[in-house]
Symmetry: C2
Subunit: 363 residues, 2 copies
């Protein structure tokens, strides 16, 4: 059974050109104080005018855009197949009239990259969400015709108002009809005020460790409460970082729903599908959670047949450049090994079997 990485990103060359051509977030630039070292600035809080370049974003090297680096990483970590996806912030920031063409071009490029390593690479496509709905729906249908595409990656912004926006219904309908799953991935985090006046002392820890999974949990709970899965019963979603915090909070969410006077008054309690039902029928989780505790909760919530190994490459590289085996990857491997101690078949399913079956990869 192959080992499959379903959470692994790339900024393909045409997207890099796009980022290099910009001067507001998101952008990539070589600053005057370090002309040899490009920096990737993707979050508003990462831009720091008049500060040294090392205070802005993160260094970006070939591992972000050169597919041969991805293959080397896969080989070094025993990964047989990867389902690559454009990294955040995708095309969310593009003007309405540019997004459609950019999506087609980038999706074609990514599909072509996969074809160079046939059997090892697959991809989640990118939607032009700032374009008119019909352009987005057309791209969903076109993606289905591309050989290596197995779903789409999407942030939590949707058309700009979140994933509980009724205007997303035609897009959800198209994804359900084409049987393309949504890989839901955070980008926007939480308003930086919540981290308090000392946040900069803590490096990137608060927005990455908490902002990302909390954003994700809010987004998916809004989808649930708005009835997305009542209307689109077959719509499938793979949630990054083992669901944000959904497995842990599912009981509290369900309890708050059952105790809500407004939902009862609106006669919605009987009609809504439960969080648990959606977790076991519509939601898949990656296994990017870095601990046995979290992984077990994800398995308990969703099922060992619904979790899929991931790495988040090229993010979270080792701090010590000499390390060839990445700590972030080792943590996720170790969590699977200890969580399924003695149950090899479940471990193999999470490591790759589930991805092969769910994403219809060539075994």
């Amino acid at each position: 059974m192959p080992t499959v990485d379903v959470h692994t990103h790339i900024y393909p060359p045409s997207y890099m050109s796009l980022l290099r051509g910009r001067d507001t977030v998101p952008y990539v630039r070589n600053f005057e104080d370090a002309p040899e070292s490009a920096r990737l600035i993707i979050l508003p809080g990462e831009d720091a005018p008049n500060k040294p370049s090392t205070a802005r974003g993160r260094p970006i090297g070939a591992e972000y855009y050169d597919i041969t680096e991805k293959i080397k990483f896969m080989d070094a970590h025993g990964i047989d197949k990867s389902v690559i996806s454009l990294a955040n912030p995708w095309l969310d920031f593009l003007p309405k009239d540019e997004a459609g063409a950019a999506a087609r071009s980038i999706n074609d490029e990514v599909d072509s990259i996969c074809s160079q390593y046939s059997g090892r690479l697959y991809a989640f496509g990118t939607l032009p969400l700032s374009a008119p709905a019909e352009t987005v729906v057309a791209e969903v249908k076109r993606l289905k015709t591309l050989k290596f595409m197995r779903g789409i990656i999407m942030g939590t912004s949707g058309l700009g108002k979140g994933l509980d926006d009724p205007a997303l219904d035609p897009i959800y309908a198209a994804l359900e009809e084409q049987q393309l799953l949504i890989f839901l991935h955070p980008h926007y985090g939480l308003p930086s005020d919540v981290y308090g006046p000392w946040a900069s002392n803590y490096g990137h820890v608060l927005p990455l460790a908490l902002g990302f999974p909390l954003e994700t949990t809010i987004a998916v709970t809004r989808m649930l409460l708005s009835g997305v899965w009542d209307r689109f019963k077959e719509l499938e979603i793979l949630i990054a970082h083992s669901g944000g915090t959904l497995p842990f909070l599912a009981g509290r969410i369900e309890s708050c729903i059952k105790h809500d006077g407004h939902l009862k008054k609106e006669d919605r309690l009987e009609k809504m599908r439960s969080v648990w039902d959606v977790l076991k029928k519509n939601i898949y989780l990656d296994a990017v959670i870095y601990s046995e505790v979290g992984l077990k909760a994800a398995v308990d919530a969703s099922g060992a047949d619904r979790l899929m190994f991931g790495t988040d490459h090229p993010f979270f590289p080792p701090l010590d450049e000499d390390e060839t085996e990445w700590l972030s990857v080792k943590s996720n491997y170790a969590a699977i090994k200890s969580a399924f101690d003695g149950d090899d078949s479940a471990a193999k399913a999470v490591l790759g079997g589930n991805a092969v079956r769910i994403l219809k990869l060539d075994g």
Copy 2:
């Protein structure tokens, strides 16, 4: 072995008078459109000028302030002992020169309430956090002399800037010295923008189910990152709602710390205690999580000897007033029963044994 509820709130009569005397949040009022029915408005988002009273806050009845109602609830649910605490927002909103006297008066009142049901009631006290630090420290020492006090309840605001505020150090030092634990409880939630334009369709679900635990997780992670437990190695904290989402995210937090270039550059990686170490030595969790999945993760993260049963009474009452057995309580009992299936001693520890030992209750 008794069953002990460590998460159960009260607004004692003097606090009710305080709330009834106010006309900005937090307040309690009988509105003209329903003169018989008092409403409790504690969160800014719950105030809705010019709207019917039913659109504001929640109905408040005797279960919020009459201790005989608490005892009835305990009897109906097989609870032998309760450790009562003032409900949010505590005294956070009081002017500097009023907070000290208010805290002394309310703490004395609560201790006196406990004395009426000796052996059945204990309490967490309230600190006058808006008062000068020496007033707060004096109240910590005074609380230790009150017969039924077993710790203090605190929100996430601290002195107004969060719990990673270095100005809290004298208070943390006093709590550590007096061996009084902090019961950390949410109140402020997250900025309402994060719930999007359709939030009001979902009743109170998003702020209660997500805002509260996410606020809690951010607060405790900020404490950790600021080195509170490096400086106060014996400081103990009981985190509401099974830690917010800390058990699930602990692995990600630890991984983000270990991958943070800034923390490495500042030479803090070696010095900081790990999340896991603090979870097993300084942190206790209540068992207010409404699911077996969440409860197991809390046990895995912190240990079955560190979890304590709770109800969150009088919040989350049944929607159907005829129900005498509360669904919210049943869910938490059921989670313990199924999580420890076959391990009676662990279940009994969580139901009461841990609380008796940790809080030094009369068994």
